[in-house]
Amino acid sequence: MPIHDQSYRHWEGELKSHYLRWWVITYEGLKVILRRKLFIILILTPAIIQFFVFGGLIYGFNTFGAMANLNQMTPDFFFRFCFQQTFFILLICVFGGSGLIANDMKSNALQLYFSKPLTRSDYIIGKIAIIMIMLECITAVPCLLLFIEYAVLSQDLTFLRENYWLIGSIIAYSLVLNLPITFLTLALSSVTKNYRYSAIILVAIILGSAVVSGLLKVIFRSSWTNFVMYWYNIGIIGRGLFGMKDEFSEWQWSLVIMLVLSIICFWIMYRKIKGVEIVK
């Protein structure tokens, strides 16, 4: 009898409950993405630098009180921070999200996933959470930290008393910024086995929508053509959520457009993700 049997041994532990099974996918997915140094250096770091710039502005305003254009801290400041992150949101989706399902399909990993006690919903939620966590880390989390910074540096509680609702606006807007593009990224990732194609199509849709909107505007001479533009819709929903009801008063329409887009993307994703590929 050997001291330690290195042959196969039966495992007598207990399997964990199914409740948070999706988190395993999220955690491992994040580990794989964050192991890429170029991704961290070129995309995540610049996105976080923006937070320090805005943080510095708040500090400067409170400490020196000399920045004329920041004399009144308005909701616009927080909206602008979130909206300026859209460039990095797109980069994260292109370089971090477009391969999430496409790579699994390319390497036939779906049948491995679904041979385990894992549902399609677990898989989809796990993948959504990978992108959402990265995106929330450059939108909602730093924006809330900026809000806290301003509240802490304020002389009294006036700012907090008058603007507490901004916490809800920041969270809601980060979801508006991040959820539709996450769904779009994963839907495109699920229709091809090549992540490059899904990345190119994603960029084409987001940037191309502005071009199409411009062309339609020339043809129809109507401001309604703006609704074709992806970031326009995101922008005016943000203005609505942050209480900036200027010329963009139809933010509800944009919300409906984003909702429909998200539902379609989710439906595509749900249909394409299967444990068995049937070739007819």
Partner: protein, 302 residues
Amino acid sequence: MIVRFNNVSILYGDVVALDDLSIEINGGAIGLLGPNGAGKTTFIKTILGLLTPQNGSAEVFGMDVVQNKMEIRKQIGYVPESDCYIAGMSGVNFVAYMGKLCGMPNKEAIQRAHEILQYVGMDEERYRTIETYSTGMRQKIKLAQALMHDPELLLLDEPTTGMDPKGRQEMLDLIKDISSSKNINIILSSHLLPDIEYTCQDVIVLRDGKLVITGNIQELKATHKKMYEVRIKGNGEVFLSTLKSKGVELWRSERNLFRISLPEDIGTQEIFKIAFDNGIQIRQLIQTRYSLEDVFTKVIEE
């Protein structure tokens, strides 16, 4: 009873993959045989709950495959036929990840991943990303991930595909060890009859989604006892036609070498007599056993 299929039919559009299949599997090592398109992979995927029967019902460990697929999968390990892995992961991380997906705690999954990889014979390679693995290593890593959560039933779909002879033998030895010493039931689907013969006690033969034959391999081979190899000298055409007329089945191996299967009422003395009557010398008459290939060919032809 580990698997029970009651009149199960599975259709892909107009194509019938499983046709009113009824079968019971009690456990042990079972080989799944059949020509391409026989329904072997469909059979395995139905056990996993990846496919829903259009007709009939299927049970695994007494649980319905449609209603209890999560519970069933906890007790099943699956080695798919196609090459599959998670891109960007090292071997050990991949195997541990598969364990965690089954619900194993993080620490235990990593520890067991190392143990299992050692068991399947992957020592140093475990730290390399799977993309850099050879076909043989990928087959072994698929086996390792299937064993992670210590399943009661292991489903192996063509596990030796693309392996060199040494790797194939190692894989077969592992499968044999798993089924014989580790008390894990296996269902092995393969085109390679020697693989099934080496590792399994029982066999299921499917054709066009229907069950053709099932039973113990040794018993199936023993049902055809009167098989001989005959070498003759001389012009054997008349001799052979006489044998055929008496109900003897024969297959020519070489010009003067034949395999013959005798009916119940004919003995070897009769063969010598016919040869003598036709002026033929019998240089060799050896009783041979039916191989699994003979059984398989026979039932498929029928």
